[in-house]
Amino acid sequence: MLTESDLQALGLTLQVAALTTLILLLLGTPLAWWLARTRSWVKRPLAALVALPIVLPPSVLGFYLLVLMGPHGTLGHWTQAMGLGVLPFTFAGLVVASCLYSLPFMVQPIQNAFETMGARPLEVAASLRASKLDAFFSVAVPLCKPGFFTGAVMCFAHTVGEFGVVLMVGGNIPGVTRVVSVQIYDHVEALEYADAHRLAAVMLGFSFLVLLALYTYNGARRREPGV
């Protein structure tokens, strides 16, 4: 039913989303932790910075990334100095762009979970002589599981739904940067409506199922006594 290039785009999209989610879990968690617990004045500006991708048009993000990651940009100079070449039109570039684009969707739910938990459980853990790292993994992480779950699911789904930024820094290369949203756009623009319909329906179903899973999970947890 789906053409080979549609399947390729689907596979690529899942790869980008999975990798972005993994990277943001690793980078976003310490950031959320710090934001939840700090009393520094930097907290507010940093929180605003993290939230920027929610309100910025993707064209702004795409334009800056194209310039920054390009051969004359700051990021481009670094990546070239490290022997990685320049990032636009590469799979790595797409992942970097996605990480920026989806950052708030990962950080905010986790930060909220940490804030809701408060300092008390960690103080108790410390009084039982748990090390800070131990307290984090055996107390904070289990208590904040719904936050991590929400962050990961939203980050994954949001990356799958990415379009504007990819359009500007991707270069539409099959198997490298041609993700599903761009593939659908190309189908529509070329009047290939039947192809567009098939792929769009897959995306619609997928997005619905992801959100349904998220709400079912979070709803079930809320009803559990003692959580």
């Binding site: 194209l66 310039v67 320049v86 039109f89």
Partner: protein, 249 residues
């Protein structure tokens, strides 16, 4: 008395041009972005009419018009899109005409990169080659034909970067993210001179002629600004101006 009447008539005409100044919504192929600004300026100066310009790849604009996008005139980068619109009753029958013949160039923002024969394509000195989506952009189609004729399609497939219009292809090369790109001559010329970088004018034998047709859309039938634009595009002065941007006409 006769002279007096003439003065009154001229005054009346002058004021009516201001009073009756209309606006036309026009869809323009991305390669014509620069010249259309100049055409719009002339139109406004001579008639008072203004143009609201939407740029994009010909195929995209065509798809939008088919889905009742509110345009009065369409300046395409091929002859097939205007012809199809005429055939389907979305444009005035017989109204399409060639306003420009476009030329494809291989361009780099780097002044030393592109040689006069385009041999740079056969070397390994570049990482990315940008071109416009051949499905929707006639200049992208011309780029594909060129690579085919040169026998380089397979060898360069890993280096190709596809832009959604010739405008984005230019942008990819201009920012240096693609070292090379197939763009329209009109995009890299200013006052008949190469603005910056280096280029190879692709021989016309390597791609089918890019005949760019304009057509009066159904919505523009009664729009004075649209009718004035159609007329202006066929005037000798404007043709000279279009030529100065690197087109044949």
């Amino acid at each position: 008395m006769k002279a007096g009447a003439r003065v009154v008539l001229v005054c009346l005409l002058a004021t009516s041009a201001r009073v009756l100044a209309a606006q036309a919504q026009i869809a323009v192929a991305a390669n014509f972005a620069e010249p259309i600004k100049a055409v719009a300026a002339v139109l406004q100066k001579t008639t008072g009419h203004t143009l609201a310009i939407t740029l994009g790849a010909t195929g995209k604009l065509y798809a939008q018009i088919r889905n009742s996008a509110p345009f009065d005139v369409f300046l395409a980068a091929n002859i097939t899109a205007p012809a199809a619109l005429e055939k389907d009753g979305l444009a005035k029958t017989g109204s399409s005409f060639t306003y420009a013949r476009g030329k494809l160039v291989l361009w780099s923002a780097d002044a030393a990169r592109v040689d006069a024969k385009g041999n740079v394509l056969r070397g390994n000195s570049f990482r990315k080659l940008a071109y416009a989506n051949p499905k929707t952009a006639p200049y992208g189609e011309a780029a594909v034909q060129t690579l085919d004729k040169l026998g380089l399609t397979h060898a360069l497939s890993a280096k190709l970067v596809q832009a959604e219009s010739i405008g984005q292809a230019y942008n990819f090369v201009h920012t240096g993210n693609a070292e090379l790109g197939f763009v329209a001559l009109s995009q890299v010329l200013a006052g008949g001179q190469l603005k910056s970088g280096s280029m190879w004018a692709v021989p016309q034998a390597l791609y089918s002629p890019i005949r760019q047709n304009a057509v009066l859309l159904k919505r523009g039938n009664d729009n004075p600004a649209a009718l004035a634009l159609i007329k202006l595009l066929q005037s000798p002065d404007i043709k000279d101006m279009i030529r100065s941007y690197g087109y044949d006409i």
